[in-house]
Amino acid sequence: MLDEISHYILSILVFFPLVVAAALALIPCCSNCSQSILRKVALAGVFLEFVFSLHLIRYFRPDSSDFQFSQYHSWLPSKLGINYILGVDGLSLSLIIMATFFSLIGMMTVYKYVNSHVRSFLILFLILESTLIGVFSSLDIVLFYVFWELSLIPLYFMIGVWGGARRISATFNFFLYGFFGSVLMLVAFGYLYFNHYLATGVYSSSIMELYSTASSLAPSTQMWLFSAITLAFLVKTPVFPFYSWLPQTYEQAPVVYTIMSGVNLKLATYGLIRFSLCLFPAIAKEKSELLMTLSVIGILFGALIAWRQSNTRRLMAFSSLSHMGFIALGIFSCQKLAMEGALYQMLNHTLTAGGLFILLNFLFSKPDSQFSLEEYGGLSKVLPWFSFFFMISMLGSVALPSTGSFVGEWLILLGSFQAYPLLTAFATLGVILGSVYMLWMTYKLLFGPQKVSVHIPKLSGLEATQMTIISLLIVLLGFVSVPILDHTQATFSLIEKTLAAGSPYPATLVNLENRILRPIVIQQNHTFEVK
């Protein structure tokens, strides 16, 4: 029984939200009372999803770097070699848990903030959750691409329908940027897919097989493919020159998107590790200096621009640019420590940014809000609990020791210092600048002169719950980092070994059989094309 669950858990995680979405579409809706039914069903669905995802933590074997809980089913006609392959390793495990957990937090916010077209919003939200997990767990490039592109569509509609006043230009920016990046990736994937056929005579789009194909190509070809694929992820991360969709999207996005944005940006950083680094280890190593330079520019640039923003949403956008720069720096340094730190920082950034956004959304919840820093002041006297939570998230964001971000950034800087000391020295400046704008925002909102004219509601129970959980986690991650790093370390050792040797990434599909990990049996009946 347990084995059966382990065999199908990933499919359940990917498709369960869709089932709930379908159920929501079918529940008859007549009045406001049934809207609350819809909300309850959706919340229950997201909660169950989170509970299901705990199965992964419980039965994951941290000592193995292979893809666990894997599944292999044929999808398209078998001679095309495009299959339905799912699997989880240390990298995607933490991200999947983060996605299901943050979907739960986000869904709580939906509960309060979304009041028009509730049913559609809930359905889009559930589709989004499903695509997030799909991206993190698919091990077939075509399947991955399908989920990757699909994740744009629910967000597009969320921003377009529920967003701010200038939402339409934001949707164009958001969608066209994302699409532009990913179509070039599609060509690169097509090229790899075809080259695998050239090399072996069989079509396959499974990344385990493409890892070896990719590293056997000529370096110049690898260079082009690496650029195309990395560009797609750099645009969505975003890394320095490709950021311009981010501030606008953040500014116009609905409340729920801002909370989920932490998870969405991680899709790209996940892709950077899984595809850019593991497919083309030699090129990634060669180009790491350039990419790290871009990341450092992003860190400093984002922090400096954020300092001068008076719009809190834009401030958060540039702060994200700066933080994502740290993550990218860790990834491109190709050092195990730094990559582990990057993953750790992915979790922390999601938490701190999510927490700050929950509080800012609470503050600026009026429909025509300009998100201006000037609107409030001296809140610490009026809203003590709000200020307390705000301080914790803010300190988490500036990487104060004893918060999770400190561990993450410390690991990143330590790792990348081994690779490029000078660049890392500049990146360290980012830590200081990061605290400058964050403290500036805190000063303006919480301390500063009190602006009494504005009526402020008390923090509601919902937000208090969300913030208590998030604050606890922020502090917890600061003290208890070992269990998480233990789960990821096997994977990252393998990635580092791959990068050092420039050899294909050797992980395989495994599954639990009677509590022992065994490679899964794949019935391949490839028909060789005659021509």
Partner: protein
Amino acid sequence: MSSDFLTTQLEASIRHSIQSTLTGSILPDISFFWSASPVLLLLLGGMLTMLLGVFKGNPLKPCISAWYVAIASAFLATLFPILGPTSLVTAYFGSGFLLDTMSKFSFLVISLGTLFTLFAVNTTSVGRNLLRAELLSLLLFASAGLMVMCSAGDFIAFLVGLEVVSVPLYVLVGFQRKTTRSVEASLKYFLMGATAAAVMLMGAALVYASIGSLRFSDFHLLSLSLNHPFHMLGIFLILSGLAFKAAIVPFHTWAPDVYQSANSHLTGYMASLVKFSVVIVLIRLLSVTFAHNSNSILVQYFWILGALSIAVGSLFGMVNSSIKRMLAYSSIANAGYFCLGFASLATSPDSDLAKQALISYATIYAVLSMGAFTVIAWFEESNQEDILKHQLAGIGPKKPFAAFALSVFLFGFAGLPPMAGFFGKFFLIVTAIRHGLVGLSVVLVLFSVASLYYYLSVMSEIWFKPHTQHSILPSENPETDLTMRTLCLTAVIVAFAIGILGPRFAFEMDFKQATEKAYHQPKSSFILGSLVNKE
């Protein structure tokens, strides 16, 4: 040299072919009537509907009896491709009528498309204008012509089919003589179409003069190089005529006008089925290796035309406020996408992958554009010919299902998964990369970002903008809505099914072409030899 040929060899050649055809197969055996039943049924239905119109008092009123006959014949026409033997591969009338998997599949697509159009025509207010006996009969003739085109293995049979399609379409495009624009479009379409046909005939004449045969399978005797200018010119003229029908740049100028001012159902019919049939014809035409391995010039031809079409279609579509005009440019861009497949097929004429990619994208595109234009017809009033983008503002919440269907089709055109367009594009790109056309596939994906812009602009009107006084107010007719919902739901389900399960139909297809019974070997080789010697 050609005078030599005309005086001495033409006569002998004609006599020979008449004799051999008489003894061989001028009267085909009985299996022909079963195999060609879709064509024959549609022709029969066309004649019957025409007759029914005679007994009608007022010709301007809808003729429902004719509609029933048309539905019945289109429905019966689907039976053979579904029920008929799957392995039957035969040629009738020399190579005039090839029955193979590809033609059976195209019979199915064409008859289903016709059935879909007919059902849609009877439900929308704009479609009821088409419910006149003679117009329905022309529609059936056009479908029969498309089938003849798809099953032709011979230029003559193809040309007959093409004319049987074109002439009814000229009439159908121009029958609404309400505005000068409509007349202009129809006249433009007629003049340019007639020119294209003449050009194609000229090409055929040159080909015949060169090799003494018009069978597609004999085209391998042609050598496409500057040493044989007539060969090259002949093929290029034929291809240009076909490019006209598929609206490939620079032969596209008719498309925006015609798409905009024709009845939306007809636009859908043209965009989907005519383009589909042209793709089938080009697959047949391009699956020959030309003499002396001279295919590379064709690759260049399709490379340039494809890149131009993609660029023009994607960029010019951005500036149009009329949604049908915009979709016309989208169809031009899509014609450019097909050129990836044509160019790959020209590189290696026996590549199954290229044929599979072309057929799957042609089918997917047919489903999507049929659906998209049907939704547009649903939005239109009976005397309206066009919808502007801003008229769609806020239509989403008012007509959620129609708007949802239109969004599915538009995202499908853009190639976003899980809609059908994604796999169509993906396999075209993979095919192109496989045949060394990386540049063209990069052109495709870069410009598809531009074309996404105009699809998104429609989306944001539909879903994101509030309803204004300029917005259309679709009539609330429950009966219309029910039928249209069923039709659109069918198209949406097909689009999703292909998008999620992949275009399996194309990958399970057998591309063995039917070949003529060997009673006649073309004597062309020595003619070719003589031409070469004299030049």
